[in-house]
Subunit: 295 residues, 2 copies
């Protein structure tokens, strides 16, 4: 039998993404010899055990990472600095430390300084997820055909990077490398800004006078339903993402606001040519997504 | 056998909604004795015939409505005034004239003045639809469990209204009555504004520098994918809706803009409490939608 990629892999955080990794690993036997689940929430840890997601269940991150050759941070990005500081003295030489955070500059900023000599830091971000949270929300095929982006700090160890790339390949994902700054801009427009908008419009509807609000719910047509779906995502995770990708998110929001104001202006003044042109461009983007099988 | 609701029902426009009505009627035998399909596009009309959507296929609306006891306008709302003017002299006394337009004040304004004495005008709006267009996009179960809103002009004939309500019940929908002004506000927030936003953000992404744009497409995460889905909707139909529900749409857009600016400000200044609060409210709306089975 081939050597496993990791002898002892620790998932810190067994929410939607962590439990999806665990489930996907069950379908990739031989990839990991011993899977250790770690979560600060006793309820999450107990549920992970009931679901038999791993081989070992440990509440304390410092204890969990002892002797591990792989550690993946799967908690909200705002918690990374404290966790990295706490586990750093317990990481074995040669261990590969990775994450699944949706922001990459902040992760390199927060985790990087704590990584001990001889430990290999490989930040990663799988572009997958639903609006559901917690250990029960994991899906074995969540990463199938999706991208996992790798944003390397300076002087990253090539063998360690290839191990993380192989891990994501085993989970069904395709990998690509890009700088953290570039990653943060691309993800700001494709994921962070859409979430900010969805959270906002649900609040706007909620603020309407009482009678209308009930009808908003009752008569939610397809457009609004789609927005509420992504707006149902985890509050702490998204709060952390917004704060930690502030610059790119605010730049994309400014661009969007200008465009939305122009569209509103076209509606006010009946500029049908402008409106049709914008809608046609949107359709082309949708078509491109379908063509490259990302829709 | 029971008397049919309509002896000769004419669908003017055989796009997504028109062809869904035709298909749903095939599953509700006895509701309509003779279904007449009318469309200005020879290609759509030929395709409707190939799909055997109706009993008769007529290009000219004036010719199609002759002898009909029911007519439903299923074209973009911007075309209603001209169609109403053209068919008015050919409508038989007692005929019920209805529509499926997404704006109701504009429909009453545009169609109302053309309705001859003795013809009953019953504006309606089924809250259903996908991003697809044309006669092939029809779905027999599109209206199942969805709402159809009825907004009556002054002095509407109660028997005619009940006929239209029975028709939508036969198609699987629930009906509710509300004033046109109220309808237009509710639908502005649940449908029109989400579409305006989705069209806009796709354009914002398309305007990014070339290298990033390709990656935006390649790495489209779930948030953006959902937005492009609704942004793939028909340009002429949506142009007409925006222009014809301008006041309510611009008011809802102004409210949304204020809220989005406040969210951006919270992100800039790290106001985590505000961000979490807004996200939590969004989740509650989503939960309410699931509870009342509209999600």
């Amino acid at each position: 039998m081939a050597e496993p990629l990791f002898h002892r892999l620790v998932l810190i955080g067994i929410g939607h993404i962590g439990s999806s990794i665990a489930r996907a690993l069950h379908h990739a036997p031989g990839t990991v010899e011993r899977l250790v689940i770690c979560d600060a929430s006793p309820a999450h840890l107990a549920r992970a055990k009931e679901l038999e997601l791993g081989d070992e269940y440990v509440a304390d991150p410092a204890e969990a990472v002892a002797g591990a050759d792989g550690v993946i941070l799967c908690t909200p990005v705002g918690s990374f600095a404290a966790i990295a500081e706490g586990i750093a003295p317990h990481l074995a030489p040669g261990c590969v430390l990775s994450d699944v955070g949706s922001t990459k500059q902040s992760v390199i900023r927060d985790v990087g300084p704590h990584v001990p000599e001889g430990v290999h830091f490989v930040p990663a971000h799988p572009l997958a997820g639903t609006e559901f949270s917690g250990p029960d929300a994991g899906l074995a095929d969540l990463f199938k055909g999706r991208w996992c982006l790798i944003s390397l700090p300076e002087g990253a160890d090539e063998d360690a990077v290839e191990k993380i790339e192989s891990l994501w390949a085993a989970l069904g994902a395709r990998t690509a490398r890009m700088t953290a700054a570039h990653h943060d801009r691309v993800i700001a427009i494709v994921s962070h800004l859409p979430h900010l908008i969805a959270f906002t419009i649900c609040g706007t509807a909620d603020d309407l006078a009482d009678e209308t609000r009930e009808e908003v719910l009752q008569f939610a047509a397809s457009g609004f339903r789609d927005f509420t779906r992504i707006a149902a995502s985890d509050p702490v995770m998204w709060r952390d993402i917004f704060i930690n990708n502030k610059d790119a998110l605010l730049e994309m929001f400014a661009r969007f606001s200008e465009d939305a104001q122009s569209m509103a202006r076209a509606v006010r003044w009946g500029d049908t040519g402008y409106i049709e042109d914008r809608i046609n461009r949107s359709r082309k983007i949708r078509k491109s997504l379908i063509d490259i099988k990302q829709a």
